[in-house]
Each structure stands twice: as C-alpha cells, then as structure tokens.
C-alpha cells in the first residue's frame, strides 16, 4: 500500500491541507502536492484503464511523461478530460474521476478485451471487420469508437479566460534544472536579455532529489542562491509553471504558462501562450527514465525508479512498504538507498548486469540491501496491484529462481535525454552507445535564416549525465548563446559538484533476454495504447519495417504521452527484430507540442464577439439600433435589411426597394473600398491595373472600371475618380478593398518597384452615404450648400463642397438606376451627416436600405455584381463588358491571358437576362440542362443562373445567368434543373429589366 510518510517531503507544506475528491471519495493532501502524489498518499494507486484492453492502470511516473494517470477533472464549464495527475497541482476543492471504464474503475466490462487479447494483436482491425460491407459503419465502427477514446467530451461553454503574451529575447533557456539555471546565469552574466522557463512550480529539477552537492553546498541551497541572483538581475525574466511547447523556424518558440490551473475562478487567465522570438534557445530539458520490458511490467505498483524516489523525497509519499528495484545501471540504487533511508524496505535490487560494483551499489549493500547481479524479473504477480515478483536469470528464458513478495517495483532502465524541442525544427540526433540513448548532435543543430545554429542544448538533455558535466555544459551553452546573440561571454567559471563515480549501464531491452512468445506478449512498451514487445515483433515480421510503419501499425508512441516512455524501448525491439542497429532504424519525428497544450490557449482572447476584429462604420450603432438584420461581409457587418415592427426580412426588403424607387433611400456605403493611387507614374499604373483606359480620365470625372487578375479573370470593379493631375481614387467592392490594396502593393513592390506610385487604403477615413431616389436632389438642396443640379454636377462627375455645413465629396454615380449621389465625408462626421440626412429627408419619405435592396435594384438594372456574376472563372467578355476593355492599350493585367484559345472560344457561356414563364423566382445556382449525358455519365449543361430575385418593382422573378450562345438566343425558352430533378422553364431576355434607357438616373 502507498501512504504518506512522516519524515520526508521537501516540496509539501504539511500545515496547508487541501481537500479533494476522486470518484466521489473524499481525500486530503497538502499544498505542494501534485494530484498524483496526493492520490498515492491516499493509497489510490489504481487510477484508470488502458486504451485497448482496459487493463488496470496505476501511476508510473512523476512528470509530463506519465502515460496512465489521466483523469476527468472539474465540473460543468470547467470540466476537462485527460488531465495528467502528475503535472496537476493539488488545490482545495479539486474534483476528478477516472476514465475509460464502465461501469466502474474497479469493475470494467471492457476488460473482456483483455481476456481475448490474444485475438487482438497489433493491427488486428486491418484484417477483419470487412464483411458484410455495411457492418463496418453500423456495427463494428461504433463498438470500436465506444471502447476507444479516453476522457469524456466537455459539454459546456468554457468560462475561463486565456491570453497571449509576446516577448523578444536574446536567449531563452528552457528547463530550470541546474543546467538551465547555470545556462541562464552565464548568459545573463554576459549581458544577454534572458528568459528562463520551468514547467513545474519549483526550480532545480532532479539535483536535490538525487542529493547533489554543488560548490560544497547541498543542491537546494545552491539553487536558492542562483535563483535569487537571477531574480536580482534586470536582464532576466524567470517563469515557473511555463513549458517550452514548440520550437519553430527563425527562433520562434512558444511557452505554455499554466497561470491559474491551480486557482480556478480567481479571475486570472487560466493559461497564457507566450510567443517568443529568441536569437538563441538553450534546451536544458533534462531526461526521462526508461521502463524495463519484463512480463507484467504494466501492473499497478510497477513504477519508474526515479518516480518512486521523487514521491518519497519530494512529497513524502511511499509507493509501497516493500519495493523491489530492478535496474540495468547504478542510478537505480539511488532509489533503493532513498527508500531505506526513509525507513522503507527494499527486499532486493535485481540488477541485469552480471557484475555490480561501485560507489552506489556498495552503499546499498552497506545499508543491508540484497543485490542480485545478472538477474531479471520473469513475472509480476498481482492484478490491480503488485503482490510479488518472480526472479530469473537475465540471460535465461525466464525460469523462476525465486519469488519475492513486494507491493511495488521500481524500474530503472537508463535515461533518455529530452530532445523534443531540439528536434522540432530539424535538429538531428546521434546514438550514444555507452548510455544507450539518442542525444542532440551539436554539429547538426537547427539553423536559422543565416545558416547558423539557433538551438543549443545543455545538461542531461545533452547526455551529460554527471552533475559537474551538466553544470559545465549549462555554463558553456549560456555563454555561447549570449555570444551568438552579440554579447561578450562572461569569464566567470562554472560551479563544480562532488563527483559520484558510476559504472557503465548495460542496455537491456527485454527481460529475460531469451524470453519466449508467451512472456513477450506480457511485456508492455506503451502502457496507454497497450503495445507490447510482441506487437512490435509482429509488425517487423509482417514487413512494417520502417519505424513510422511500426509506430502506425502498432500505435506505439501515439498515445497522449507521445511515446516518452516507450519509443526508445520500442525502437530497440524493432532493431533487434530486423537485425539492424538502433541508429539505422532511427526515430520517429518529434512534433510540437512537447506535452499537450490547451486549445483555448492557442485561440487566446479571440473568441465570441471578438473572435475576429469587427469593423464598424461610423453609422454602425445607428444601424444596430434601427432594426438591422445583419450579414457578415468580410470583417464588417452590413445591414441586409432594416426591419420595422412586425416585418419579415422579405417584407422589409420589398418595402425598401419600393421606397427607394419612389421616394428616397439612404445606404451606408462606407464599407466600399477607397484606395488612393498617387504619383508621377500613377496613370501608367492605373492603365495596367484596370482593363479600361484610366490615364486619360479628366480631373473631376468618374469612370466605371474593371480589374482582372493575371489569368484574365474579373476580380473586382468599381468607379474610379480622377482627383488631380497625379491622383486617382479607386472604389472597390466592400469585400475586395484589402485584397485589391494588397494586389496593388504586390505589383508595385515586386514587379514595378521603380515606378513612382504610392497607394493608400483610405476606406476607413471616409464615411460614405448613397442618397438614392427621385427625391435625392431635394434633400440635398434642403440641407443647402454646393450646387448639385444636373448642370453643375452631371452624371459620372464628382465635386467637393459643403452640404448642410459638412465638408463633402459628392460623386454622381448610380448602382440602382435612380438619381443618386454618393457622398463622402470625413469618418468623424459620418454619423452627424447621416443624422442630418435622415432628419432633412423625413418630409421626402426617407428610409434607410440594406444590402439586399441594393442587390435587387442593381439586378433590375442588369448591373453585374462581383461574386455573383463572377466567380473567379469569368472574364469581362463573358459579361458583355467588352466596352470597358480598352483596345488602345498595349498591356494591362489579364490582357495576354484573355487572348488564350479557351478565352476567345465562341462557345463560352455569356451573360443574359432570364424570366421564368410563370413569373416565379429561379432557384439560386440552378443549371440549364441540355439533352443527353457526357462521357462521364453526367447530364449535359448549357448555362447557369448567376443572380436571381423577386423584383418588387416588376412584381415577378428576374434573373441573370450565363448561357451558351446566350446573347444570340433571345426569346428562346430553356430549362433549369431543380435539385429534386424537376425542371423550370425560362426565357432568355435582355438583362436590363427596368428603365432600359437609363432615364431615371440621368436627371
């Protein structure tokens, strides 16, 4: 049984008791506990079930590498699945439940899988569940899905807050162990701007647990002094609870800070994602101990030796009364010694090495611990908890020599450096024979834009196993990083530690060496995903020989711990099966993040209303308060229609059209793109951007223009006004403003960089109102000011002046076919001007109108709309806009493309008007269907609807469409197919449905 000890626990504060529940059971722990240590202190070893066989699972580790101890945590809006208990700080009121079982943790029906495990080897699902065909979707897949997955899905809307921070540093050091501390100190002493981050709550990492002595002081003291020194330096930022999550190109590194996970609801953001640009990054991320592969190594109570030690030393928690230590190296003895020193029993250290001498083993022997060399664990007894182990010869087949009673097993399989962050951006690894691990290859570091390395590594993360070596490499990395960041390296010497001599470890990949298939089926590699030694061997046998194939076929390393415990052991088995060397087999790719980070932290503050920036015109509030039914247009929200009391949207639209055509309508046209093009070469530039001739436009005049992309397709349109000799104002569509601005800049910056032209997007600098309808002039005259009569301001001209005391720029242009003035005022005056128009317009029947009314009025007039008549495949010629394409210009964007054979093909579909025979509205997007099928068995088509509306003015459906040879087929009746297969008949007509001669607009 595991329990709290009375005499140890350097991290827990016994005076601060924390209450929590697990599966409804009330438990207590202390401040400083992790959820895992608190559970263990309450003898809760069994915490979950494995993925595939639903086997009982206990805690095996004490950090981010934990594969088993994941729980559902919190409730309601703070519920979260898969919380790793080993990295969860205990807090008062914490509630959690175990996962992946039904009906209960103790009794799980899913464990049936375990009893038929023999029939469920790696990849079994690729070989079966194929008949009958429909059964996969309806029977097998639902069953598999139900039994897979881990925690439950959250249901409620998250109530917590998340944020992003940005930082720019000379040197970022990841990992606050002694190597990281020393690296930060050395870099800071050299004058660099340094950030040091540590994922746990405490500085110092493993050294204090392992009893290191640095510069003659206990590790804890050295750590406190170093942290204090760093805190006192202005050029240093220290963060605990912050994990280096991912390293990206050009020194970009993300830091995941768990600000308030342990204080839920205190108002602070829960997580903070730091996005840091670093000139240099030092990864001092430590190492992770490897399990050993022996039969039954997944039974709760079998743990990493380092974790057993952590729980005793850091949290004052014993895993068991009697712990058997099994090891292939000297470090395992530290655990045995720590346990005995804490007053616990270690019946035996099982050491796979045939010769065991040296400082640590001898100290263990001196303490009276029985050390068995050349031995292995042949089997583990127990179901939901270890009760004993069978000892055998390591170089045998597993025949039991002896049984030892115990309630815990501590495995020490050697250490693997944490190379993830080093590898994320392309850092390469080398295989270290003596330590049997991969470590960073300093000669093949990730490189930045200048071709120089930007990631360094230090401490045990670099494979420097000894304390002195770790301090020295931390010191060297800190200085080198500072130097690479442009500072002069400090000349202070690195601290030194007392040396503990350790003998070589022996790579032991399975225990015992000649175990047969029955034992190999019980040796777990990946605890969460239930991948065993036999599975990797099966993959190799079946030809899944590449590591990536093995990984994917067996799911080794694909669980939430991403193989932190299993990968190297799995690789070794694979290499052995293939008769290859481990480095030849290689590793799978390390991908960010190091351990999973919350989606919410990635999204940051941008959610709900501020999910994307909301652009507002000066009239936005008025619009919102006057019945607007909004539609999103880019980042704007525009009124689709203004609903009056009790009106439906359709009724409102109808009313708006009628009112504007008969009396007076106001449209907030501020979203319309406005781009200034200015400079000595502006005319030349305008002629390239537009199909029309713009350089000859007279000052004071307006011209409707078309823009095409280099493939000749129509991309935007709008009215251009010539402001003065070298200035043009281009109106673009609302959705197109930013795109067109970017497009202009792209050409100017990449192709025509030697032209003297500047472009500026002034869309938001002006508010613009379209004053539309027969009474338009009357309302302006009532407000008084500049002359807006036909004589002084004719159609397609513009002028500046005052109206009603406002500084305005008035364009006589019309998108509705009505008498229309588009009036721009400085944005700050927009709302006042709008109000003035509404007030003055009252006697003339003024009403605001929305985008749908705008669309209908333009369709009644046969004007095209970008995005309706165009879709990225339409050239102006398709729309009968040849008149807007200059024949005189040598070149413009799209000209050459429009000369290609398919573009000049007479068979292209062309724009016409369409009228249903029965007056109904043609369905949006309907295709004109022709007799017969094509070679692929699809119905032949001869055109399609591009815009279709009910016209309130004409009281019937009107539409535009592009039809094969359309303009030559006026009066012909063709058929449009509905989605249900029935047809609607429509006549091909002229696309201008209303006021064909344009008499209304030119008054």
């Amino acid at each position: 049984m595991s329990t709290r000890l009375s005499n140890t626990g350097r991290l827990v504060n016994r005076s601060a008791v924390k209450n929590f529940t697990f599966n409804g059971k009330k438990m207590q722990g202390y401040e400083g506990d992790t959820l895992a240590s608190a559970l263990l202190a309450n003898d809760q070893m069994l915490v979950g079930r494995s993925f595939k066989y639903h086997r009982p699972r206990g805690i095996v580790a004490s950090g981010g590498e934990e594969p088993n101890a994941l729980v559902n945590m919190g409730e309601g809006a703070r519920f979260e699945p898969n919380q790793r208990t080993t990295t969860t700080e205990l807090f008062d009121g914490l509630t959690c439940t175990s996962q992946n079982h039904w009906p209960s943790l103790e009794f799980d029906v899913g464990v049936a899988n375990n009893y038929v495990a023999r029939f469920l080897p790696a990849g079994f699902y690729y070989k079966t569940f194929m008949a009958p065909r429909a059964a996969w979707k309806h029977v097998f897949e639902p069953i598999i899905r139900q039994s897979a997955g881990l925690g439950k899905a959250p249901k409620e809307m998250d109530v917590d807050r998340y944020e992003h921070f940005y930082a720019f540093e000379d040197v970022v050091v990841v990992g606050g162990g002694i190597a990281g501390l020393q690296a930060a100190k050395a870099a800071a002493d050299s004058g660099a701007q340094v950030m040091l981050m540590e994922q746990t709550t405490d500085w110092g990492g493993r050294a204090p647990v392992d009893g290191a002595v640095i510069d003659g002081k206990p590790a804890d003291q050295w750590i406190d002094e170093t942290v204090a020194a760093l805190e006192a330096m202005e050029n240093v930022t220290l963060r605990t609870r912050m994990m280096g999550a991912g390293v990206y190109d050009h020194g970009y590194i993300t830091g995941y800070e768990r600000v308030a996970d342990h204080t839920p609801g205190d108002g602070r953001p829960r997580h903070r994602l730091w996005r840091i640009r670093a000139k240099q990054i030092v990864t001092a991320t430590g190492a992770i101990e490897r399990p050993l592969s022996f039969a039954g190594n997944d039974i709760p109570g079998v743990m990493l030796a380092s974790a057993v030690r952590d729980y005793v030393v850091n949290y004052g928690v014993s895993i068991g009364e009697k712990t058997v230590v099994v090891t292939n190296n000297d470090d395992g003895y530290r655990t045995a010694i720590a346990l005995v020193e804490a007053g616990l029993q270690v019946p035996m250290v099982v050491d796979a090495r045939s010769e065991v001498e040296g400082e640590l083993p001898n100290k263990a022997r001196d303490l009276g611990i029985r050390v068995e060399a050349g031995k292995a664990i042949g089997k583990v007894k127990g179901g939901k908890r270890v009760t004993g182990v069978g000892i055998c010869l390591q170089n045998g087949e597993g025949g039991a020599l002896e049984e030892v009673k115990c309630d815990a097993v501590a495995m020490a399989g050697g250490w693997s450096p944490v190379v993830h962050l080093w590898s994320h951006c392309g850092g390469k690894l080398i295989w270290d024979e003596t330590q049997a691990h991969f470590r960073p290859d300093a000669n093949r570091a990730p490189t930045g834009a200048n071709g120089e390395a930007f990631v360094l590594t230090a401490g045990i993360a670099n494979g420097d196993m000894g304390t002195t070596e770790a301090l020295a490499s931390g010191d060297a990395a800190g200085k080198a990083a500072a130097k690479a960041a442009g500072h002069k390296a400090s000349r202070k010497a690195a601290p030194k530690a007392d040396v503990v001599a350790e003998n070589a470890m022996a790579p032991v990949w399975i225990m015992p060496q000649n175990a047969g298939p029955d034992l190999r089926m019980k040796m777990w590699l990946d605890y969460q995903n239930d991948v065993k030694v036999s599975d990797v061997q099966l993959a190799a046998r079946e030809g899944y020989e590449s590591v990536e194939h093995t990984k994917r076929y067996t799911t080794l390393g694909m669980a939430t711990d991403q193989g932190k415990l299993s990968n190297i052991n799995g690789l070794a088995i694979l290499a052995d099966s293939l008769n290859a060397e481990i480095p030849q087999v290689g590793t799978t790719t390390f991908r960010p993040p190091y351990t999973p980070i919350s989606m919410a932290s990635i999204a940051g503050e941008a959610r709900g209303e501020i999910f994307q920036p909301l652009r507002k015109t000066p009239m936005h509030d008025w619009i919102e308060n006057n019945g607007a039914h909004f539609e999103p247009v880019g980042h704007w929200r525009r009124p689709y229609a203004y609903l009056q009391d009790g009106e439906t949207v359709e009724e409102a639209v109808k009313r708006e059209v009628k009112n504007t055509r008969r009396k007076l309508g106001l449209l907030d046209a501020s979203t319309l793109g406005k781009i200034i093009v200015k400079g000595p070469d502006a005319g030349k530039f305008m002629d390239m951007m537009y199909t029309n001739m713009m350089s000859t436009l007279k000052v004071g005049k307006c011209r409707y223009g078309l823009m095409c992309n280099e493939n000749g397709f129509l991309s935007d349109d709008g009215v251009v006004a010539r402001m003065d000799e070298d200035t043009w104002l281009c109106h673009t569509t609302s959705g197109g403003a930013d795109r067109i601005h970017g497009w202009m800049e792209e050409w100017l910056q990449t192709e025509w960089w030697d032209w003297d032209v500047y472009v500026a997007n002034v869309t938001e600098q002006y508010a613009q109102v379209a004053v539309v309808g027969p009474n338009a002039r009357k309302v302006l005259e009532k407000l008084g000011g500049m002359d807006v009569t036909k004589g002084s301001l004719p159609f397609m001209e513009w002028a500046e002046g005052q109206i009603g005391g406002f500084d305005t720029r008035v364009f006589r242009i019309s998108f509705s076919g009505e008498l229309s003035y588009e009036i721009a005022v400085p944005a700050s005056q927009g709302r006042a001007f709008w109000d003035a128009l509404m007030e003055a317009g009252e006697e003339f029947g003024v009403q605001p109108y929305g985008t749908e009314c705008l669309h209908i009025m333009r369709a009644e007039k046969g004007f095209i709309m970008i995005g309706d008549e165009t879709d990225g495949t339409i050239i102006p010629q398709d729309l009968g806009l040849n008149w807007a394409i200059s024949k005189k210009k040598e070149d413009f964007l799209g000209k050459r493309a429009q000369e290609r054979t398919f573009m000049t093909n007479p068979d292209r579909w062309k724009l016409v008007g369409l009228e249903t025979l029965d007056g109904s509205v043609l369905p949006d997007g309907a295709y004109a269907i022709k007799e017969g099928d094509n070679d692929n068995g699809q119905r032949n088509m001869e055109g399609r609807v591009t815009s279709t509306y009910h016209s309130p003015t004409l009281g019937r459906g009107i539409a535009m469409g592009i039809i094969h040879n359309g303009p030559d087929r006026m009066g012909e009746v063709i058929e449009f197919g509905k989605v249900d297969g029935t047809m609607v008949k429509a006549k091909i007509v002229d696309q201008v449905f209303f006021d064909k001669n344009g008499e209304k607009q030119d008054v």
Binding site: N82, F119, Y126, K137, T589, F611, Y640, R900, Q938
Partner: protein, 415 residues
C-alpha cells in the same frame, strides 16, 4: 496471398501470431520493367493496382524514396467527399468515392471507410449561394448532396454552436455518403495487393534522374542504380516539379506546407465531418477518439514539412468558435505536409513533352479522397497512352489554353 479474416486471426492466435506473412515483399530492383511508377503514395500505389487489375500489366515497379505511404497519404486528415462543383472534378472524385465504398473488400484489407457524412457550413450569404449552386450541379452529376437547414446541422452535430455570435450557421451542403478512411491502411492495402500481383515495391530508393532517348523515356536513375522501363509514371505530389526538372520541363505548380493537428482522444462526441470555410477550419473525430483538425496553407513556398504557427492559431480559433467544447481539449500533435498546388488548384493527369512519361500530381490539399479514382484514371492513361474520359480535362495543356477547372469558386478550401 493468404487472406485476412477473423478465422485467420484465430488460427494465428493459437501460435502466438508467429505465422503471419509479410504484407508486401522487399525485393531488389530488376533491370527493367514495363512500367515504373515513381512515388509509393496512395496515388502511385492505386495507379499500380489498376494497371494490374484493369489492364493486366503487372511487370511494374513502384519506387519510393522513403517508406510507402509516408508522404501526404500518411499525414492528411482523410476527408472523403465528392460534392465538387465542376463537372470533371465531380466525375473523378465521385468515381473515387464509390471505389472507397468497396475498397476493404476489393483489397481484403480493412481501410475503415466510414461514410459518416460530410457537411460544409454556409456562414455568409455568398456561401449559401455557392453551396446551392453546388447542390444543383451535383444533382445532375450523379453526386448525392443536399443543402440543409441550420436545425438539421445541429441535429447531425450537436456539439456545434450554430448561433454565432460572429458567423451564425446559415445552412450546410451535406453529402451523407462522404466520410473518412484510415489513411495508412489505404496505402498498405494497395501495397499488399500490388505485391501479391507480382509488382515490386522498392522503398528507400530515390529517383535522381529521368533518362530518355530521342524524346522517349527509357528509364530512371536511382539511389539503387539505373532501372529501365518502357513507360514512366511520376506520382510524387509535392516533389513533382523536381521530377519534371529531371526530365527537362516545367510544371505549373508550387509546393507549400499544409498543417493539421489532433487533440487528445476523448469518447465519441462527433459523428460527422464538418468543414467551415468562412472561419477556416475543419474537424472530425477519428475512431481512436482524437479530434482531427485541419487548417490552411502557408503563403510561401517551402519543402520543410513544417508550417507557421499562426496558421495553427487561426485554425484552432475557428474551431473553438464553431465547437466551443474544443476549448477545453488539448492539442496533442501538430504536423505539416508539402502539398502540390496548381494554378487552378485542380490536379494534372497528363502526358508530358517526353514520350511515354506521364505525370499525375497537383492534388494539393485534397487528394486523399481521390486516390482510387485517380489511380483508375492514371492507369488508363499509362496503359493506353491516351487519357480516358475521367482524366480528359486534366491535361496540363489547359494552362496554356486557359481552360481552368477552378473549384475555389465554390469553397475557399478544397480538402
């Protein structure tokens, strides 16, 4: 080939699974083949499979520089749908989708095709119109789709927030027989079947040169030496431009990184595939329980199989907005693949300036779903030397003629 079945598993279980054979052989290259296919991704392997199955051509080598299925075939988000807008696209994707229906049985390898339904959300007025147009086109292209209401969207996918606040769901284009499949299994299943027909799959062998005589292809140089062939089919996705360069011509194509990510696994909560193009993100739940999430491409060309972090951010933000429950899940892993994007974002299945050399590429961000249809069409082109109806429109001359097959018309992304 020993057939896979529940009985075979039972038989093997009795002897600790020691009797399973290799799924595919690992031969050394021969001197010469009738057809060499470069690239053992899904498209290359499917091409080989249909060369054998439809045309009886089995003296074939499939040469792969890494491990089979290790390109984009093994790193995509596995969405399968055929509700494309343009006729040629709808034809080839629907052919592919229908072949997915029976692929497990055809290959005797469970590829876990799961026709759970794919919906593409309409969140702006123009998206509504775009999808209504697609629905109309599909009705006459033999593709079964439907434009559904927001209420139906919610019924099919209860974890979705259809009420905005920024982009309320206005409807969706729904293809009930779209879905997902297990990507690795598709590659492995084809590889096993090809190997069984006597074809040679040669892994860890990089093609470094294309040899031709008198304008006609005669073989390739590889890291395992020169290999001769009568016909050469290049099916290497993001590296197509390199192979074209080896043969002395250029392709209208760029390579960019596309990223994806998964959450930690959770119990089943989403039974359909959802694509949200306005906010730009899409999601489904794998059989393992992970939420599989895909996003956008980088705006610059590269070959690193890594992408920029801000794209991950943009995608996750879109997902949190659309599915609030995502907020309290964690990102387990992110990765990238190099996708081959053409000028009109549609594929190229084509003859080339070099006689008897053919290229199939440009599937870009959405070619997993096309694998069987593409292989079918490519096999026909290689076997007959002329395109059949499925690939007729996908020749690369279309860029010279301006005859684009543009799908971005209907949707911003084409996964």
């Amino acid at each position: 080939m020993r057939r896979y079945s529940a009985f075979a598993i039972a038989r093997e279980a009795a002897r600790y699974h020691q009797g399973w054979e290799r799924a595919w052989a690992a031969p050394e290259p021969k001197k010469k083949y009738d057809v060499i296919i470069v690239g053992a991704g899904g498209h290359g392997l499917a091409t080989a499979f249909y060369l054998g199955k439809n045309f009886g051509i089995t003296n074939v080598a499939i040469i792969e520089k890494g491990w089979l299925g290790g390109g984009n075939t093994g790193r995509n988000t596995t969405i399968i749908r055929s509700n494309y807008l343009q006729d040629p696209s709808a034809a080839i994707y629907e052919k592919a989708r229908s072949l997915y229906e029976t692929m497990s049985q055809d290959l005797n390898y469970n590829v876990m095709f799961s026709p759970r339904g794919v919906m593409m959300l309409a969140q702006t007025e123009s998206e509504i119109r775009g999808y209504q147009r697609t629905a109309h086109a599909n009705a006459y292209q033999g593709v079964s789709t439907e434009f559904i209401s927001p209420q139906r969207v919610k019924e099919l996918c209860p974890i979705m927030n259809i009420d905005g606040p920024r982009y309320p769901v206005l409807g969706a284009l729904w293809q009930p027989r779209g879905g997902t499949a297990r990507h690795d299994a598709v590659a492995w299943g084809y590889a096993r079947a090809c190997s069984d027909m006597g074809m040679d799959i040669i892994q860890k062998c990089e093609v470094t040169g294309v040899r031709s005589e008198g304008g006609k292809v005669v073989g390739v140089d590889t890291s395992k030496g020169a290999i001769d062939c009568n016909k050469l089919a290049v099916v290497v996705a993001g590296h197509s431009s390199d192979l074209a360069q080896m043969a002395g011509f250029r392709l209208p194509m760029e390579s960019v990184a596309l990223q994806a990510l998964v959450s930690e696994p959770i119990k089943p909560c989403m039974d359909v595939v959802v694509m949200a193009n306005t906010v730009h993100g899409y999601m489904s739940q794998s059989d393992k329980g992970e939420m599989v999430i895909g996003g956008g491409t980088d705006a610059f060309n590269n070959y690193t199989q890594r992408g920029s972090f801000h794209h991950i951010e943009e995608t996750v933000r879109a997902l949190v907005e659309t599915f609030p429950m995502v907020s309290r899940l964690k990102m387990l892993r992110q990765w990238g693949g190099i996708v081959d994007v053409t000028g009109d974002r549609s594929p190229i299945i084509t003859k080339t300036p070099v006689q008897n050399m053919f290229i199939n590429a440009g599937w870009g961000t959405g070619g997993f779903k096309a694998i069987p249809g593409s292989g079918w069409a490519m096999a026909e082109l290689v076997a007959k030397g002329e395109p059949g109806p499925l690939s007729a429109e996908f020749g690369m001359n279309r860029f010279i003629e301006g005859r684009f097959i543009d799908e971005s018309v209907a949707a911003g992304v084409a996964h």
